[in-house]
Amino acid sequence: MAADQNGQRSLGEGAMLTLCNISAGYGSFRALFDVSLEVGAGEAIGVVGPNGAGKSTLMRVISGMLRASSGELVFEGRPLTHVPAHRIVEAGIAHVPEHRRLFARLTVEENLRIGAFLPQARRHYVERSEWVYALFPRLLERRRQLAGTLSGGEQQMVAIGRALMSKPKLLLMDEPSAGLAPLVVDQVFDLVRRIREEGYTVLIVEQNLQQVLDVVDRAYLLEVGRIRLSGLSAELKKNPAIRKAYIGL
């Protein structure tokens, strides 16, 4: 049901996640200014922008790692603005953090188990893990290996798999391609595509504009903490300003 809404969404009521005038920062430093955006069920949305634009901060606000100083966050009609991170996961948002942040001294399997920590996820651990292993067969081979010993691409698989273990409704991905070799980057975007095909709603933050616009339906351009532009990815790809500044043409 979610998958067939691809590309065409209607604004307003149907949005799964709504951010309204969110501002946030660290101490006296403000990283986000009145950011508003919407993610509809089944959509894949990109947030793009240069380094230091506040993309990761935005993700941290959504997943509850950072408190917004003002503004509102609504998920499936529930206000989630000042809810701690572990409750947000319960609500159905999983976050694949920047730099993957695996538990390096735990095995692959244990990393997946941590992902299924929530009681509702524990009950489905066996089927979920089988599903993740089916998605990433490489992980099945390496399940007893310490996560820290895997290659970058494999680690990204574990990070995504770990997030998927909680059976989220919305998957947040923070710079999944960062720090990976070009060949591996392609693989990672393949992964994103496959997850989309599985019917997940995805919000992805990327610097790598070219490739991310191939994957998502719509995107927002974030610069110095403010939303500059938004639109369907096809349109954005054609936007001369973006082409000049980010795609290098």
Binding site: H86, R113, I114
Partner: protein, 284 residues
């Protein structure tokens, strides 16, 4: 082989059991919460007093009293966490160290105030085990066995349960635990309770071998501490091995030289090893 040397080695192994048991809880707390409870031995003292009062004064059966003491010290662990540790989780490690150091002083004096300075004893005398010329202390054997069982149980808990894995994970990356749906405060509280319970368990076995008095912690505090560091703070297996290494140095060193020298040896060994393997015996 020299029969007496053999006896010294056996004694060392048994002492190692006692020390390993003491190190278990302290190590768990450090591993998960990243705080060193300097007053850990004083919690053991509290447990010993609980058993003494419940058993000798209120006449509870020893097993029931022990069980109550384990629960009681677990409660103390939770209180310690809520009142002292959690307000300063973000402070410099040295401040955390000193806050629990202040608790050491507080608990010692409070025990003096409440119970006086008398030595208390539950008066239980355990049978002797005699194997030819070698004698084995029953209470030490009991402590040794419990340490082994405790270590295995803790190992299974940490490797098989969701909570246990979360405890190991939290030590590696605190910030993202929330993203896994883990409530960090809850895990800390449970860890403090388990650490406290392990201190209570140690109290049950120590009370069979030692008199209780407000300063009993002085006998065990420093050495337990060294063992945890030697094993690599938070490294359960390392701590277990370190307990036996240290106890062998003390027992065999004491046999060849004197108890005094054996402690100097143990500390010098500790310093040198810190230079060679600064992250502990089993550092990778």
């Amino acid at each position: 082989m020299d029969i007496y040397l053999f006896e010294a080695i056996i004694n060392g192994i048994l002492l190692g059991g006692v020390l390993a048991l003491l190190a278990l809880g302290l190590n768990l707390i450090f591993g998960v919460i990243d705080v060193v409870w300097i007053c850990y031995a004083e919690l053991v003292m509290c447990g010993m007093y609980m058993i003494f009062w419940l058993h000798s004064f209120f006449g509870w059966p020893i097993l029931l009293a022990s069980f109550a003491a384990i629960l009681g010290v677990a409660g103390l662990g939770v209180l310690l966490h809520l009142l002292v540790i959690s307000p300063i989780l973000g402070s410099a490690p040295i401040n955390q160290l000193l806050a629990t150091g202040g608790m050491l002083f507080f608990l010692q004096s409070l025990a003096t105030l409440l119970f006086g300075t008398d030595f208390r004893n539950i008066g239980v005398r355990l049978p002797l085990i005699e194997l030819g010329d070698i004698f084995i202390s029953y209470s030490r054997l009991l402590a040794f066995g419990t340490a082994l069982i405790g270590a295995v149980a803790l190992y299974l808990f940490l490797s098989r349960t969701y909570l246990g894995i979360a405890m190991r994970a939290i030590a590696q990356d605190r910030e993202i635990m929330g993203l896994m749906g883990v409530d960090q405060r809850r895990v800390y509280l449970i860890t403090s309770a388990v650490g406290g319970a392990l201190a209570g368990l140690a109290a049950c076995l120590l009370v069979l071998q030692y008199d209780v008095h407000p300063f009993i912690g002085l006998s065990f505090g420093p050495i337990t501490f060294m063992i945890c560091v030697l094993g690599g703070l938070g490294n359960m297996i390392g701590g277990f091995i370190a307990a036996f290494v240290m106890s062998q140095i003390i027992a065999v060193g004491g046999y060849y030289f004197s108890i005094e020298i054996s402690y100097v040896l143990a500390f010098v060994f500790f310093i040198v090893l810190m230079f060679i393997r600064p992250q502990g015996l089993l550092a990778r």
